[in-house]
Structures are given as structure tokens and as C-alpha cells.
């Protein structure tokens, strides 16, 4: 173990952890905004109750996404100073834009939404949650464009050992980003959909035990099923795009994901070890069943010729299995949403089985997105910037093993405690259910207490 290993572990742990909360921020925020819009349009009390109920769950989660996000921004400089110096000219720009254009929007308008219930005109208040949702999604775009640049650097030249941006538009419209942004954002909507499906399933099961379930859960469930199915289709479509881009841009990652050792014409695809679908990999990756897919050992040879001696093969088992976990768990969630829509067709009540399956499936989309990130980032190793900078050369030279050990311990312990607290808090609020219908608001006093239901 040296400082590099610990820094990598720290980045992996803190990033995966951060991304447990991000999908709910992105997807659940939009879902809550949708519920509030439904309330605005129809005036039905049930949509307001759902807005406040899911809004509260959203806010419990949002806090975690924000605070763990600050660590991300600092960590590049703290642990990866050589990386930061090399890429800052290019990579820093989307980060600065993310803060200026997205984070301000998100945090300011969310503050207005949380505290503005009885202070803003209804329509303005609704616009606030949408502005916050746009902010969240915009931030995803910028950070994913930055991340895409690490896999497929474009719009730059290397001058004096540093990347210099030559074209911001090229960075922001990187083909890798254009496939990755909708893929990850749609996956976030699948995670959020899975979360709402599980919560509704739980509420239905629980309320049926004590009489009957409130019909609003069926409405929310249907909404979440539609959202998950649509987002799932987008994830699959953009996943296919990403696969083809891997074939062109990151052949090593593709080869590792498939465990393909040698360059192969008409390569087969094995969904699980032992099962081979002939020519399927070539067909999927190149849309040509007879295309040559490159293998890790042949790629290793050509990389060594081009970049000098070294090990250019990522951790094969991790990449291979995370690829499968991503696809299988992700598709299972989407299949469940389709089955659920079928089960709920034409005013049918929520079947017990659907409620139970929805609850049981809660971990699946979460595990799928984590696996997706492991595939994406471990599959890029040993590079931090594909073809330009090795991870080993990117670490902060002045930060000692002891210092990284301290920070890794601090973050791991803190994150562990907070994760346990967050799960308990969410579970408690889900169990308690939504608040009963609110009484009509009183006149606006000159000085006002600021402690309504959704507040601090």
C-alpha cells in the first residue's frame, strides 16, 4: 500500500458514495416537480400530499448529495495535484461552469422552494422546483462532459506538458459525453423510479393491513412506472451508443468487459460465463456481426509499442462483472416497470405481488449504476486521461501515505455513520407516511415564523 493506492481507494469510495445520492437528487427532484405540477393543474389534494411526502424524502437525500459533492471538487486538487495541473485548463472549465450555471440555480431555487410555500405565488413556487431540477440536471451535464473528456480527450493540445483547451464546444459536445450524459441521467431516473416504486409498494402493503390503501399510491406508482420505463428505454439506447463508442475509442475497456483475450472477427458475447452468443459482441459493438473486436493481449502489445513498456490492462474480473451487473440489474428494473404498467392497466388495483416485487427490487438499480461507474472508471485504468496521463503519474507527490490514511479514515467513518442515519431517517418517514391534508393557510403576518412541514 502506498499513498497512490489509498488515494485511489478514497476517490473510489467517496465517488461511489456521492453517486448513491445524486440519482435521487436528479430523478426524484423531477418526480416531485411533476407531482407539484399535477397538483397545480388538477387542484387535487392527493398530489399536494404526495408532493410534500416525496419532497421530504427528496430533501433528506439532497443534503447528502450536496455535502459529499464538495469533497469531490476538492479532491482533485488535494489528492491528484499532478492531474489537476495537467488537465485544469480543460477539465476545470466545465467544473467552473457547473458551479456558476448549475449549482447556484439548484441551491438558490431549492431554498426558495423549501421556504417559499406560503411566501411565493403558487405559480412562482412551482417554477422554483423546476429551476432547481434544471440546475441538478445541468450540473450532471457539465460533470459528465468533464468525465467524458478523461475517457476520450478532445478539443485540446498538449503544450509544455499541460493540456491546453483549444475548443470548449468540442469538449462540451464530445461524442462520448453526448452518449454518456443521457445514459447516466436516464439511469438516475431509473434509480429514482425504483425508489418511488418501492416506497409505493411498501405503503400499499402496509395500508392494506390496516384497512385499505390510499388510492394516491396507485397514482404515484403509475407515474413512477412510466418514468422508469421511459428512462429505461433511453438508458438502453444510449448504452448501445456508448458500447459502439467504446469499440472506437476505448477498445481496451470493451475487451476487458467481455474478457476477450485476442483480436477476434465475429466475436461472440457471453451474458454469463459458459454461455456464448455467436457474433453478438461484434454485432453489438460495431453493428456488424463480422467486425473485428480487439482483445486485451493484442491491445497490450500495441499500447506497449506506442506508450512504452507497462501494464495497460485494467482489472479484468471487476470490469467483466460490473458490466454484467449493470446490464442485468438495470434491465430487470426496467422489465419490472413494464410488467407493473401491464398489471395496472385499466384501473386495476395494485397487485400484492407487484407491491412486493417493487419493494424487493429497490437495491437493483442502485447496484446497476454503481456497477456502471466501476466499469467506466476501472475500465479506463491505468489511464486517468486516456492515452495522455497515467493514474500513477497524477497523484499529489507532496501528500504522504499517513495523510491519505487519515482522510480516508475520516471520510469512511463519517460517510458510514451518515449512511446509516440517512437510511433510518428515510425509513422512518416512509413508515410514518404523508401528513394529513393541511388546513387552509391563514393571513400573512408582518413577521412570520418559518417552520412549516418541509422546513428545518
Amino acid at each position: 500500500m502506498d499513498a497512490l493506492d489509498l488515494a485511489r481507494w478514497q476517490f473510489g469510495i467517496t465517488t461511489v458514495y456521492h453517486f448513491l445520492f445524486v440519482p435521487l437528487t436528479i430523478g426524484l427532484g423531477a418526480f416531485v416537480a411533476g407531482l407539484q405540477t399535477a397538483w397545480h393543474r388538477t387542484g387535487k389534494e392527493q398530489y399536494l400530499r404526495l408532493t410534500k411526502f416525496f419532497g421530504k424524502l427528496f430533501l433528506i437525500n439532497f443534503a447528502m448529495g450536496v455535502v459529499t459533492g464538495i469533497v469531490q471538487e476538492f479532491q482533485f486538487g488535494m489528492n491528484w495535484s499532478e492531474y489537476s495541473k495537467f488537465v485544469g485548463d480543460v477539465f476545470g472549465a466545465p467544473l467552473a461552469l457547473e458551479a456558476l450555471l448549475a449549482f447556484f440555480l439548484e441551491s438558490t431555487f431549492l431554498g426558495l422552494w423549501i421556504f417559499g410555500w406560503d411566501r411565493l405565488p403558487k405559480r412562482v413556487h412551482l417554477a422554483c422546483i423546476w429551476a432547481a431540477v434544471i440546475g441538478s440536471n445541468l450540473s450532471a451535464y457539465f460533470i459528465l462532459a468533464a468525465n467524458a473528456w478523461m475517457k476520450h480527450p478532445v478539443g485540446y493540445e498538449v503544450v509544455d506538458g499541460r493540456a491546453r483547451m483549444t475548443d470548449l464546444w468540442a469538449v462540451l459536445t464530445n461524442s462520448t459525453a453526448l452518449a454518456q450524459v443521457p445514459h447516466v441521467v436516464a439511469a438516475a431516473f431509473v434509480v429514482a423510479g425504483g425508489f418511488v416504486i418501492a416506497v409505493c409498494g411498501y405503503r400499499v402493503l402496509r395500508e392494506r393491513r390496516s384497512g385499505g390503501a390510499d388510492p394516491m399510491w396507485r397514482s404515484a406508482l403509475r407515474g413512477a412506472l412510466v418514468m422508469t420505463a421511459l428512462a429505461g428505454a433511453l438508458v438502453a439506447g444510449t448504452g448501445d451508443m456508448s458500447g459502439r463508442l467504446l469499440y472506437e475509442q476505448q477498445p481496451m475497456k470493451l475487451a476487458a468487459a467481455e474478457g476477450l483475450r485476442h483480436d477476434t472477427r465475429g466475436a461472440s458475447f457471453s451474458p454469463v460465463p459458459g454461455v456464448d452468443v455467436p457474433k453478438a459482441l461484434s454485432a453489438l459493438a460495431a453493428h456488424d456481426p463480422d467486425a473485428v473486436v480487439r482483445g486485451v493481449e493484442d491491445l497490450q502489445r500495441s499500447f506497449a509499442e506506442r506508450f512504452g513498456p507497462g501494464d495497460y490492462i485494467p482489472n479484468m474480473p471487476v470490469v467483466y462483472w460490473s458490466f454484467r451487473v449493470m446490464i442485468v440489474f438495470g434491465l430487470t428494473t426496467v422489465a419490472l416497470s413494464l410488467a407493473g404498467l401491464w398489471a395496472l392497466r385499466r384501473r386495476r388495483p395494485v397487485p400484492r405481488l407487484l407491491a412486493r416485487a417493487g419493494l424487493a427490487a429497490l437495491p437493483l438499480p442502485v447496484l446497476a449504476v454503481i456497477a456502471g461507474w466501476l466499469l467506466s472508471e476501472i475500465g479506463r485504468q491505468p489511464w486517468v486521461v486516456q492515452g495522455e496521463l497515467l493514474t500513477a503519474a497524477a497523484v499529489s507527490p507532496g501528500v504522504s501515505l499517513r495523510e491519505v490514511a487519515v482522510s480516508l479514515t475520516v471520510f469512511t467513518v463519517l460517510y458510514g455513520v451518515l449512511a446509516a442515519a440517512e437510511v433510518r431517517l428515510l425509513a422512518r418517514h416512509v413508515k410514518a407516511g404523508p401528513e394529513p391534508a393541511a388546513p387552509a393557510p391563514g393571513p400573512r403576518p408582518e413577521t412570520a415564523p418559518l417552520t412549516p412541514t418541509l422546513m428545518y
Binding site: 433528506i60 495535484s81 438558490t108 421556504f115 499541460r162 483549444t166 428545518y456
Partner: protein, 327 residues
């Protein structure tokens, strides 16, 4: 104006905004155990910053992001150079942020834990930022301690004035009475440390950043007085503004008092960045640290278009929540 200088000014502006805005957030948080005797009062105090603290924190995110984009070597050197202090800042911001958001969603008994997290997180973050900048400027442990103490004390004063401005009832009276007490700590610390800062900014003393660039220093502090009256005026103005704030708060002119503490923080931050302009880190110049003209240019255009909107809707938030908060 040269783009490098322009972006340095942008970053100085963002940090200054962060210190002014999150300064009172930190102060309110750190004062929580003192100011709020009951759970309801603590809730009332927190409601004054509730709608805005997260937006205020984005000033930090933007300052750091802009530094990354415009001066990568500064960003990399600063963050890796102050590794453990920044771990402390991050841990404090994490605890504080989560506690602020969760406070209203936990059981009453757990709310005490949230309050403790808000207070500790705010105080630690405020003090550690001061320590980091103190050490960055002077390169000594003494400066870190002094900077940390000054930063915390000014945040507490700024926060108590803000509470007096934004609350009604017993909390307002208590916040007003707290203001002189906070000043008892802040004023002597400012009187001791700000002349040293002005001296450094004038390029006549110091061992940290100042020494890194102004290697020819060595003249007595008095020489800077005539050479750079502006930085000395800023330091003296900051001390005077802090004292004025207390007097104004005492006379219930809380809006003006808040303007005075905000001005004091702005003047100190201005002096800090005047010094850093010569060398953002020991041995590093801005020109060496800067990104290329293309990146700086394109970011300038986007920034100039976006910033008025950002400032506008943030100001609007303060307008929407302009009323005093009651219990």
C-alpha cells in the same frame, strides 16, 4: 485588463462573497448553543439562514472551481498543500450541512445532536479557513492560530449582527446584547493581526507568500505606511468598521451594523488578495499558474453573461425572505 488579472479579481470577488455570506451563516451556527435557549428559539435562529445558506456555500464551490479552471497550479498546490486542514474543513461542512437539512426531520431528542453538529461544524469551518489563509500568507503557526481566531471571532460578530437584524422578540434582544461580547474577542484580534496583514500587503514584512515574492523586503513596517496608504487604510477601516458595527447594533441600527461587518470582511479579504496577487503560493506567480488565453477568454464571456443572473436571483431570495423571523 489582462485576463490573468481579471480572473484573479473574479476569484478574489468569489472568495470575498463567500466570506461575507457564509460568514454570517457560520456565525449563526456557532452561536446556536448560546443564542437559542429552547428548541424553538434555535429553530428560529436557524430559519434566518435556512433559505440561503446552501446558496452561500456555492460561492465557495464556484471560487474553487474558478481557481481550478483559471489557475490550475494554484488550485493543485493550495489544496494538496493544505491537505489535512482541508479534510477538517470538508468534514465540518459535511456535518454542518447535513445537520442543517435534517434538523427539522428528526425526533426532538436527535435535534440536539443536529444543533451540536451545526454549532461545531460552523465554528470549525470558520476557524480553519482563517487558519489556512493565515498560514498561507505568513507561513507561520502563529499566523495560523491568529488567523483562525480572528476568522471565528469576526464570523461570530457578523452572525450576531445578522441575527439581530433578522429576528424579532427575545432572540433579537439577546443577539444585540451578544454583539459587544463578540466584539471583545474580534476587536483586539483584528487590532493585532490586521496591521501585520497590511504590512505584508505593502510588501515590507512576512515570511510566507509575501517573502516568496517580495524577497527584497526588510524595511521597517513604517515604510509601508507611506508607500501603500491604501492597504493601511483598508486595515484601519476594517477595525473601525467592526467597532462601528457594535455601536450601530447597540442603537438598533442593525441593517447598517450588518453593512459595517460585511464591509470589514470585504476590506480584510481585499487586503488578503492584494498580497496573494503577487504570489498565490510561495514560489508561484499567477502567470505561471494560469490557464491559456483561450480558456480564460471563453470563460470570461460565459461568466459575464451568467453572473448578473446569478447575482440577481440570489438577491431576489434575500428580498423574498426579507422579513424578520419570529419564534
Amino acid at each position: 485588463m489582462e485576463l490573468t488579472t481579471f480572473w484573479f479579481l473574479v476569484i478574489a470577488f468569489l472568495w470575498t462573497g463567500y466570506f461575507v455570506l457564509e460568514g454570517f451563516d457560520f456565525g449563526v451556527g456557532a452561536l446556536l448553543p448560546v443564542i437559542g435557549r429552547t428548541d424553538a428559539e434555535r429553530g428560529q435562529a436557524i430559519s434566518t439562514i435556512g433559505p440561503v445558506w446552501d446558496g452561500n456555500e456555492v460561492w465557495l464551490i464556484t471560487a474553487v472551481g474558478a481557481t481550478f479552471a483559471a489557475f490550475p497550479a494554484w488550485y493543485a498546490g493550495l489544496l494538496s498543500g493544505y491537505y489535512l486542514p482541508l479534510v477538517l474543513v470538508l468534514a465540518a461542512l459535511i456535518v454542518r450541512g447535513v445537520a442543517l437539512e435534517w434538523r427539522g426531520k428528526v425526533r426532538p431528542a436527535e435535534r440536539r445532536l443536529c444543533d451540536a453538529g451545526i454549532a461545531a461544524g460552523s465554528a470549525v469551518a470558520a476557524a480553519t479557513w482563517g487558519a489556512v489563509f493565515g498560514h498561507l500568507l505568513f507561513g507561520s503557526a502563529r499566523a495560523a492560530v491568529l488567523g483562525g481566531a480572528l476568522s471565528l471571532a469576526v464570523a461570530v460578530l457578523h452572525g450576531s449582527v445578522f441575527l439581530a437584524l433578522k429576528t424579532a422578540g427575545p432572540l433579537r434582544a439577546r443577539a444585540r446584547r451578544l454583539t459587544p461580547a463578540a466584539a471583545v474577542a474580534a476587536l483586539p484580534l483584528a487590532a493585532v493581526s490586521l496591521p501585520a496583514l497590511a504590512d505584508l500587503a505593502a510588501g515590507t514584512a512576512g515570511a510566507g507568500v509575501g517573502a516568496g515574492s517580495a524577497g527584497t523586503a526588510g524595511a521597517a513596517g513604517g515604510a509601508g505606511w507611506t508607500a501603500h496608504p491604501l492597504v493601511w487604510a483598508a486595515a484601519a477601516g476594517a477595525v473601525a468598521a467592526l467597532a462601528t458595527a457594535v455601536a450601530l447594533a447597540w442603537r438598533r441600527r442593525e441593517g447598517w451594523a450588518f453593512a459595517a461587518t460585511a464591509a470589514a470582511i470585504t476590506l480584510v479579504a481585499g487586503t488578503v488578495f492584494t498580497t496573494l496577487h503577487r504570489a498565490p503560493l510561495p514560489g508561484l506567480t499567477l502567470a505561471e499558474a494560469a490557464s491559456g488565453p483561450y480558456t480564460l477568454g471563453v470563460l470570461t464571456w460565459i461568466g459575464l453573461v451568467a453572473l448578473p443572473f446569478v447575482l440577481g436571483y440570489q438577491a431576489w431570495t434575500y428580498w423574498v425572505f426579507r422579513r424578520r423571523v419570529t419564534a
